[in-house]
Symmetry: C2
């Protein structure tokens, strides 16, 4: 195809410019590089970091957001299913918080529209942190160091669940992992990948993985049925998106997980049944694509997937403000 310059096309060219720039930068690939974190409000993100690490948002005083979305371990807990209040066994594998800002919605079934809506969930879930929004807010209100941090973030020291979840979400929005080797390759550094890794990427595209795992997060942007070609026998009772929509067609539809940092976020799938990447790739090939990857193909795809490990968020551990005499005490054994 050939374009001749015509005055009328000038406007079209302007409109397409951002897309063209993106395509030029990534060579038209279906995966785009992760951009570094933009911190719109450092004071809010800093407060959110404190809250993310604070087990006083749980009834027990023992479980924080970081317990299951551990930022030392790829933003996950590396457990098949998470451990909640009283050592309850969670029904589902904890998704990574890293790059979760790119998800079209939060939770495996997308029941939270955004990170702010998600953040309130575990606090009040009796199987997770087992507290309530009211109790969490009442606890924070009594802590002078938090009053100051809320004032800095929001202009007044009022503590509300809306502000709590907003601050946590603002912190989580900073948790992106740019500069993976694959991103370097996307940006033009052709030496960033080995021949095997590149062959793995080609296979990932050619065999159809990329149909669901695409975009900057290599997933997170659609719901798909788990078990397209073969039924998937899950060990989790979760039924996916049907729980939100009530539509039978959405049964076993789950949000496609991001493959960014997948090397760090084992075990895999919503039920955490696959312990290793070779196992996960094998299962996905069979149940989603009707394809049995050879050992060599599997190894190449795994090699490619490991190039998606990005620069992990690096920050100083927060020092949490101490409780005051009036602060309600945790009740781990009640």
């Amino acid at each position: 195809m050939k374009f001749e310059f015509k005055p009328g096309l000038a406007l079209l060219a302007c409109l397409l410019a951002p897309l063209s720039a993106a395509n030029a930068a990534t060579g038209g690939e279906p995966i785009q590089p992760i951009a570094p974190a933009r911190v719109a409000s450092p004071a809010t993100a800093e407060l959110g970091k404190m809250l993310f690490f604070d087990p006083r948002l749980s009834k027990s005083g023992f479980i924080s957001c970081n317990s299951c979305h551990n930022l030392s371990m790829g933003g996950s807990d590396n457990l098949k299913s998470s451990i909640g209040h009283g050592w309850q066994k969670g029904p589902i594998n904890a998704p990574t918080v890293l790059n979760s800002r790119f998800n079209l919605a939060q939770f495996w079934d997308g029941r939270a529209a955004d990170l702010k809506a998600q953040a309130g969930g575990p606090i009040a879930n009796p199987g997770e942190m087992a507290y309530s929004h009211e109790l969490a807010v009442n606890t924070l209100k009594t802590i002078p160091g938090y009053r100051g941090a809320f004032k800095k973030a929001f202009g007044s020291d009022e503590v509300t669940i809306d502000r709590v979840t907003q601050a946590i979400a603002t912190f989580e929005e900073t948790l992106v992992t740019p500069d993976s080797r694959f991103d370097k390759w996307l940006k033009g550094d052709k030496k960033a990948l080995t021949a095997d890794e590149l062959a793995g990427y080609k296979l990932f595209k050619d065999s159809g993985c990329v149909a669901c795992h695409n975009g900057p997060a290599v997933g997170g942007n659609s719901y798909q049925k788990m078990g397209v070609v073969e039924p998937y026998k899950a060990s989790s009772p979760a039924e996916g998106r049907v729980a939100v929509t009530g539509q039978d067609a959405d049964r076993f539809n789950f949000k496609v997980p991001t493959l960014r940092n997948v090397e760090l976020t084992y075990p895999y799938f919503h039920d955490g049944a696959a312990n290793t990447l070779p196992e996960a790739v094998d299962t996905m090939g069979r149940v989603q694509l009707g394809r049995k990857f050879s050992a060599e193909e599997n190894a190449r795809i795994v090699a490619f997937l490991k190039t998606l490990t990005g620069k992990q968020p690096q920050f100083a551990m927060p020092i949490l403000p101490p409780s005051a005499d009036a602060t309600p005490r945790p009740k781990p054994f009640d």
Copy 2:
């Protein structure tokens, strides 16, 4: 008393010089400033930090050293007694890891001679991390990132429990909290304390608290009976030092806890029965000194105690090396 210079005193003067220097620096006070951390082997401390934060040293894959000695919360868990494997209720309050290098021995009953000996305890305690030294070592051996870190720290990539505990202890030795306001006062900044805080310190000395709470850690350097004047009715079954010595005289003798950062390390006592500093000061006055502090006296002592909060260790959260395919998986619910 008056000294005339005599040749024979020169030697004595030399021998006393270090003590004199210390006295000059601290004005002869029974509490000495905390010195900043000296990091003898940065590579070993860095490895130790990773291990300190790694829940793969527990059977569940959920509990790390930092779970109960949380460096965001004064090196403690702020719980009456800790939560162990399977949500077991621990028998005793978790002591802070901050400034623990100054303790004459570790644990409340001093059953570990040093930090290295202590570090192996919780890993293998069925009520805490519920793993074993052998299983912990076998897990770490399979993780390539750890092999590299052991090589950097120890010159070879061999993983042994001796090296694991040595690395954790080396990290813990860095966890000191210098530059509290009280230390500034000790070093000559007379404006570092308010009149009330200073009155509290005087009372702390005059009423006898300082007999046990002295030295750089304001405690940690002797065993003392809990309940000297009045019996102390503990909610913990722990009997203290007798468990180590077998001597009946040591029953209810516990290591005197450090008062450094005591504002952060609530609740107090080996059974965690005192939720607040006013309550702890009141109880100590009664059962140890036979003295009922007035509300004003209590408030002054508490004001002094809060000047002992030092600069908390600040460091980047460690990024833990991922498990390999061959790494044994955690078993939280077995």
